[in-house]
């Protein structure tokens, strides 16, 4: 990470001002956008993720780093559209129909974004047809569903069923999570993956798409 060391350190520390300035100066100096992203921002977030999983830092510190990365990404965003850089994958995410809880889902979205995924967040109480419609529109690699209540869990298989009927299921990987959700339940409803928390959601998503 030597080339972008100051940038990466700023992201790790969650120093938004320095990180944004470093990103801008890297762009001004003509650095490749993909390199800034991969060797600067994502490398820093990998380091953050590593520190977190070793118990060296706490969630708010990790999220501050993610926020810092997001601010830097705003400067890189124009280049996304020009096709200069690619994300790890596109993730469509939402809390399922009938469920209005979003803290867990938001955490997963932020962590995945920090790891280099592109996130399309549908919010809460998302009906199957909305998942389908948006999936057809943005063609995600992963559809992620969250539920906190056991009574809303049946919306997960219903959504999978709807994706199947619309002919989308084969084109996406389905990930599920939430307090009452289990590995066994994921198998029963034929989801591709289950993650027990935001950190493991990132590694499971990478596994599913075969990226590192």
């Amino acid at each position: 990470m030597s080339e972008f060391q100051t940038l990466a350190e700023a992201v790790v520390k969650g120093d938004i001002k320095t990180a944004v300035a470093e990103t801008q100066s890297a762009l001004d100096a003509g650095s490749k956008v993909q390199s800034i992203l991969d060797k600067g921002l994502i490398a820093a977030m990998d380091e953050v993720g590593d520190r977190y999983s070793k118990g060296l830092i706490f969630v708010p510190q990790m999220l501050r780093s993610a926020k810092t990365m997001k601010e830097c990404m705003k400067l890189l965003q124009p280049f996304f559209r020009e096709g200069d850089i690619t994300s790890k994958g596109k993730v469509l995410i939402g809390t399922v129909k009938g469920d209005l809880h979003d803290i867990g889902k938001n955490l997963v979205a932020m962590m995945m974004e920090g790891a280099g995924f592109e996130i399309i967040d549908l919010g809460v109480d998302v009906p199957p047809e909305k998942f389908v419609q948006k999936a057809q529109e943005v063609e995600p690699d992963i559809v992620g569903m969250s539920a906190l209540l056991s009574t809303t869990m049946p919306s997960m298989p219903k959504t999978i069923e709807a994706l199947l009927k619309a002919g989308v299921r084969g084109k996406v990987k389905v990930m599920i999570g939430g307090a009452p959700v289990t590995e066994k339940y994921a198998q029963e409803i034929k989801a591709d993956s289950y993650a027990s928390d935001a950190g493991s959601a990132v590694s499971k998503a990478k596994e599913l798409l075969g990226v590192s």
Binding site: F58, V59, L100, I103, S150, T151, M153, A179, P180, D197
Partner: protein
């Protein structure tokens, strides 16, 4: 000469602190407002003087809160299913019970953590029925083997079949709560009997911050109309649904409770409402909501002080739970910490006894242990009885000036008083090493396992009459 016994108690807030948190809660309601997604409740609030904007945003003037606080009853009595008043919630009385909706349980035979089934609900209810210090039942399970749309109806039916103690129940919406109410009426012997001697209390949750979903309000309004006691915390865990600082999290949780109370009293003036925001913390490493943290005990002790200073309503609390995955030393330490502090801060209805894994796993052994820990804290909370008999000067004189070999152990005073004067543990082991080893060298988990098994095989729950059982079957079959 009668000397009143001082009841040891914990005070954690000054009056000034209590009033500041209350003022912040009122400011949240007046200035920030909340999202009310139930059209009927929205209309009631608007008619009463709430300011509605952007469709479902409401701001509440403080006088509506004052009105609701003055019409809500200050004492709530819960009865057992045979009509005995067993839970008089007033002043600083504390009653402990289990929790709801655990995804997993520790299997009593194998010790393994597995998904819960309906039979577990029955076992927990039966254990509660037998345990002296556990006063009410909650489901302790979210069973995977019943139709999910009626999960709470099945769970409630299973509880009333397996205990005659009061039941705190969960429902999903206005639809299933009506079915549960039907069953409760059958058990009580009619609607009027249930109203007079309620054995049920509903636990519902709004969503922090400041969001009141339609299905939750349906239950609140249903309970207000039927005079079913209810509590409505909202999961304002510090750092999760609420600010990370405890004062702000409490202010938010209290504001949310007050919204519930206002709607509740508008829908059914004088109906019973238990106060309690449930302010735990979101753990900053794992993002779980902690069930073993000192913060939750501290915020509910603070709430108890606010009850005494301001609200006057009985409060809802938690204790006897843990974040540990197995019933180990951590589980014992965390359970005891919350049980004794709930007792000393005079919390009223104390739930979640017997939870492991931040409320995701229930354990029959843990409930069994907690019953003894509650007994221990009750003993401590009883204080030191001081009178002529307990000062025992005569006994001292007898032993000190008596024959050689005379001792307190053989003195009549000891024989007459030891059962009350001492806490006599049943499961906590004080035996000498050799006897402990001979008896199998068991740890507390093992002894609680044996005791829970013994209770489940020996305890007889007084069965419900056949017509009640048939009525319940009818409700479950959708009649």
């Amino acid at each position: 000469m009668e000397i009143p016994t001082f009841q040891p108690q914990l005070k954690v807030l000054s009056r000034e602190q209590a009033l500041s948190i209350h003022a912040a809660a009122l400011e949240i309601l007046e200035k920030i407002g909340f999202k009310m997604e139930h059209p009927g409740a929205l209309e009631m609030l608007a008619d009463a003087g709430g300011k509605v904007s952007n469709g479902d945003r409401v701001r509440l003037p403080a006088y509506l809160v004052e009105n609701a606080l003055s019409s809500a009853p200050r004492q709530i009595d819960l009865y057992d299913q045979k009509g005995n008043k067993t839970i008089p919630l007033a002043n600083g009385n504390s009653f402990y019970g289990t929790g709801s909706d655990a995804t997993f349980t520790l299997d009593l035979e194998t010790g393994e953590r597995r998904r819960t089934i309906l039979k577990d609900v029955g076992n927990f209810a039966k254990l509660v029925d037998a345990l002296e210090n556990i006063a009410f039942a909650m489901s302790m399970a979210n069973p995977e083997d019943v139709p999910v749309e009626d999960i709470y109806v099945y769970v409630f039916a299973e509880m009333v079949k397996n205990t005659n103690k009061p039941v705190v129940f969960i429902a999903d919406s206005g639809r299933d709560i009506a079915k549960i109410y039907n069953i409760a009426c059958m058990v009580a012997g009619g609607e009027e009997e249930l109203r007079r001697k309620p054995f049920i209390l509903n636990y519902s949750e709004a969503i922090s911050p400041l969001r009141f979903p339609r299905n939750v309000m349906e239950k609140l309004i249903f309970c207000a109309g039927k005079k079913i006691p209810i509590c409505l915390p909202s999961g304002c865990n510090a750092g999760g649904g609420a600010p990370v600082t405890l004062a702000g999290a409490m202010a938010l949780g209290i504001a949310e409770n007050l919204v519930g109370l206002v709607v509740h009293q508008l829908a059914g003036k004088g109906s019973p409402f238990l106060f309690g925001p449930n302010v735990s913390v979101l753990d900053m490493k794992s993002t779980v909501v902690s069930y073993g943290c000192p913060e939750w005990s501290l915020t509910q002790a603070a709430l108890a002080d606010m009850r005494d200073e301001i609200y006057g309503l009985p409060i809802w609390a938690f204790a006897g739970a843990s974040d540990a995955k197995v019933m180990d030393a951590q589980a014992g330490a965390e359970a005891m910490f919350s049980i004794i502090s709930a007792k000393l801060s005079r919390c009223n209805l104390v739930h979640d006894v017997g939870f492991l894994e931040y409320g995701s796993t229930s354990s029959l052994e843990m409930v069994t242990m907690a019953s003894e820990l509650v007994a221990m804290s009750r003993f401590f909370g009883g204080g030191v009885l001081v009178n002529e008999e307990t000062l025992a000067l005569e006994a001292i004189e007898r032993v000190a000036s008596g024959d050689p070999g005379s001792m307190f152990l053989t003195d009549d005073h000891t024989f007459e008083h030891f059962m009350q004067a001492q806490f006599l543990p049943k499961l906590l082991d004080r035996s000498r090493y050799d006897s402990w080893e001979e008896a199998g060298a068991t740890d507390l988990y093992k002894r609680c396992n044996i005791e829970a098994k013994r209770i489940l095989s020996e305890h007889q729950v007084e069965p419900k009459p056949d017509e009640v059982l048939q009525g319940i079957a009818g409700v479950l079959q959708g009649h």
